[in-house]
Symmetry: C2
DNA sequence: CGGGATCCAAGTGTGGATCCAC
DNA sequence: GTGGATCCACACTTGGATCCCG
């Protein structure tokens, strides 16, 4: 196997490929794919995610489509500690800052993105160099009724504020499982939004993120499976 | 003088700068600005335009704003033969392919772009190497009533077809002074548009262009002034 | 600990236009 | 001659996320 894989044609095929890379280190996988490792994790924040995209046949760098568009599955790597506990929140998608009337959960990007996800744990303890980090066992997941209800409640609360032009008042404290945080090159970045009076204004771009307590619960149901 | 100039603060200041570079070759101007010439004109299609932007203090590579936004003036280089006759049509702006109801000329990008233009003739005969091409004398222009009427008539005819989803039927034969032609990296490029039934479809991106007979008339009123 | 700040790659779109086969 | 095709640069956006100070 060398170079990027073609798109998988079914969920079982995708799961089989994920099983095939479980236990490998990022260095091993990078060598197989002919990719070089970034010098450090600061300058290579997205490296692990892009590496497994190539390995599993995701249409790399594509647009609002799911990673595996034929089969409607989104791929998310999950940085975990040695104990298999998520170390970071998970980015979902950008926040639509120009929303005016309160939109419907049914039509939301958050619901579409999270409808079907292949979670792939990857070791990410700060002291462990990129090269030695190992890939865990994947979990193919859809939200159950309780999870979807919590996601929806958080999303509706947050989107109501945005539709009212209150985005500047939102902090990452809000939302029990889904939060809104900055998503930008730096704090000076600006995107078009709407203020309290409906006037178009420049504002900091933001994204929806899943709290790590939420992804921890997903992993807890099925052992993350980092080989020892 | 070295590096790009700051924005001019008035039309007379802009005209004075243009007079200052009239008669210079592209090689001379490039050396003053510390820029290197492209190998050939095929790979350097936009070079002359970008060079004079720097020389005159246009906010290079900026967005839908006029080149000189403070004073509301657009800069257009005009490739001319040894006789001062325009050799090419002039690109104005992209065609809004998603327009539904027929929009108003008053609000159009074409009218805004052409409201005030500094035309700068530049020698461009095919046999003349980039380095030896000379810059002519600038003309600061606004459309007179007759010119605006022709532009408006062409624009309204073309935009009506686009609003009806007939963009695929438009050819460069239409329009007495303003035409629609492809504006893309190649013929496979696609942008969102609307078909006859109002359905969103992928279509070839297009731009508005001024026929060279139109720009020739502008130059004819005031001698292009390539020094001999 | 975690909320706010930041980092990289690649795709897309726009602005500058001229090329070239028919 | 000119209508359809193409070329370059670079700003902007999105998708991949983790960093790091209070």
């Amino acid at each position: 196997m060398n170079g990027a894989a073609p798109p998988p044609r079914s969920e079982p095929e995708l799961e089989a490929r994920a099983a095939g890379i479980a236990g490998m280190t990022l260095a091993e996988l990078a060598r197989q794919l002919g990719r070089t490792l970034p010098r450090d994790t600061r300058s290579g924040k997205g490296f692990a995610g892009q590496l497994v995209e190539s390995a599993l046949g995701a249409s790399a760098g594509s647009l609002p489509e799911p990673d595996f568009q034929h089969i409607g599955v989104e791929l998310k790597t999950l940085p975990v500690s040695a104990n298999g506990r998520p170390l970071e929140s998970t980015y979902v998608c950008t926040v639509p800052l120009e929303a005016q009337a309160s939109p419907l959960w049914r039509d939301s990007a958050v619901r579409r993105k999270l409808a079907r996800v292949l979670w792939l744990p990857v070791e990410a303890a700060r002291e462990l160099p990129l090269a030695r980090r190992r890939i865990g066992s994947a979990i193919l997941w859809s939200p159950d009724a309780a999870q979807e209800a919590r996601l929806r409640a958080d999303w509706e609360e947050l989107m109501d504020l945005i539709a009212l032009g209150q985005v500047a008042q939102i902090t990452a404290h809000q939302g029990s499982c889904l939060q809104v945080r900055p998503k930008a090159a730096d704090a000076s970045a600006r995107r078009w939004g709407v203020d309290e009076r409906g006037v178009r204004v420049r504002t900091l771009p933001r994204g929806f993120y899943l709290r790590s307590s939420f992804t921890a619960a997903i992993l807890a149901r099925r052992y993350a499976g980092i080989p020892r």
